[in-house]
Symmetry: D2
Subunit: 146 residues, 4 copies
């Protein structure tokens, strides 16, 4: 009886330092660097919630997370003037897959939105596997539909 | 009178050398590198059909081509075992925008498909502009719906 | 009367997050990435002591700092297991040039040592210029012979 | 009796396509990219003379070639206006090490000179090993003192 209030999910934001090396002759971050920023943010999300980076996940636990899809819309140019605040959300958990969104903002302006789907595999064989229960327990409560 | 047969459009394929530097500890090309391969292929397409790379286009002609969208599906891992054959098609021309597809294959196996939309801008101001007539004349005949 | 004790120069250390994207199939940071880490550390040193990153220095003040030399010795492999602590020292100031050392360590183990020489130029023309007095005042006290 | 004329060693030159992605807001190739160009040129040298790239060398033959030293002098800026012609020379063979030089030129102008020392290791353990006889036979005749 009564209402169960679930704890609201905190925002996860990874601040990226955009540097000289990231920019092209148009004096903005090169388009190809932006997926790097987003993927790094997802890797740091893993560190934060699952407690391992992709290196440890692959080498120590034989779990890989190769991506099968990415899609990005670019709304505003990115420069080294401000940190790029990358907000990562876990949108959906499938049997062997995870769908994330990453929204990147600078100085309060939305620069890009992206969606990224990765599959959980056995590193050694690259065969997909169900998400291990120990990981599911940690990330299950984090799903936030877009 | 009669039927005008237009010359079929040749396939444009840019072979990418995938090297040690492009690969991650899973011994495959890192996901984030793949947009680089695709964007490089589109830049080489510009060189081939318009006669200028993005550097000359920006610096000499004050024309920029920033991307507003990219979407990629990854079907098969990419390694340094073979050249990555990147086929670029111009799918659509808008007033100020171009939509490309890039299909990357290794050893006859499709590794990824992507779509990329860029906008034609005045470099100096980053304001969109209609595609210059001189460029339109060169690329107009190349449109191939997906 | 007595001895003037100059304030000892604090250690400047920039911690680099080494990620999956930085590593190669040998499961270590790719050799070519290491100069990036060192250069980024020098850029952050600029931010810290001069108050501007290279982007602002070039675009707002028309000052460039192109490198004319780098030399690195690699002693121990770098992985994502630990932050890479990059210590930057300003070794020498010439009329128009700066010599830095960068020492990178992980978990207390020295991974690499490098020296980097940059020249102060007018961005627009790439012609060398004497180090501006305002900058010299800030960095002059930081010189630490190796 | 008589003089044995050894066949002169051909120049080995790897042309690098410098693109938009390689350049920074100074409209020149970013300093950190130049070691990439040089290392790629050395990898292609391996392909050409030993018949394997670093990926196959590591994964199929369990031989690694990690670098212990690099040193570069930059003489002239690099841009996408021309191919960067990278000449690779094998300067010296040690018991377990190789010293290379790489000279990069654009349009006949020397842009950089570098030296790179790598050690031959067992990939799995990263322990140095004498250069395998089969490889020594192929590269021994290529040594050209600087």
């Amino acid at each position: 009886m009564g209402v169960t209030m679930s704890k609201p999910i905190e925002d996860f934001i990874h601040p990226v330092r955009v540097g000289w090396a990231d920019c092209d002759p148009a004096s903005i971050a090169y388009t190809g660097r932006i997926p790097y920023f987003a993927l790094e943010s997802i890797e740091v999300w893993w560190e934060h919630y699952v407690g391992v980076n992709w290196f440890a996940l692959n080498l120590d636990r034989d779990i890989g997370t190769p991506f099968v899809h990415m899609s990005l819309d670019f709304y505003s140019t990115i420069t080294p003037r401000h940190r790029l605040q990358c907000q990562v959300k876990l949108l959906k958990i499938g049997t062997s897959s995870l769908r994330f969104s990453v929204h990147g903002s600078q100085n309060g302006v939305l620069c890009f939105e992206g969606e990224f789907v990765s599959v959980i595999v056995v590193s050694e064989t690259m065969q997909s596997q169900p998400i291990p229960a120990q990981i599911l327990e940690l990330i299950g409560p984090l799903v936030m539909p877009a």
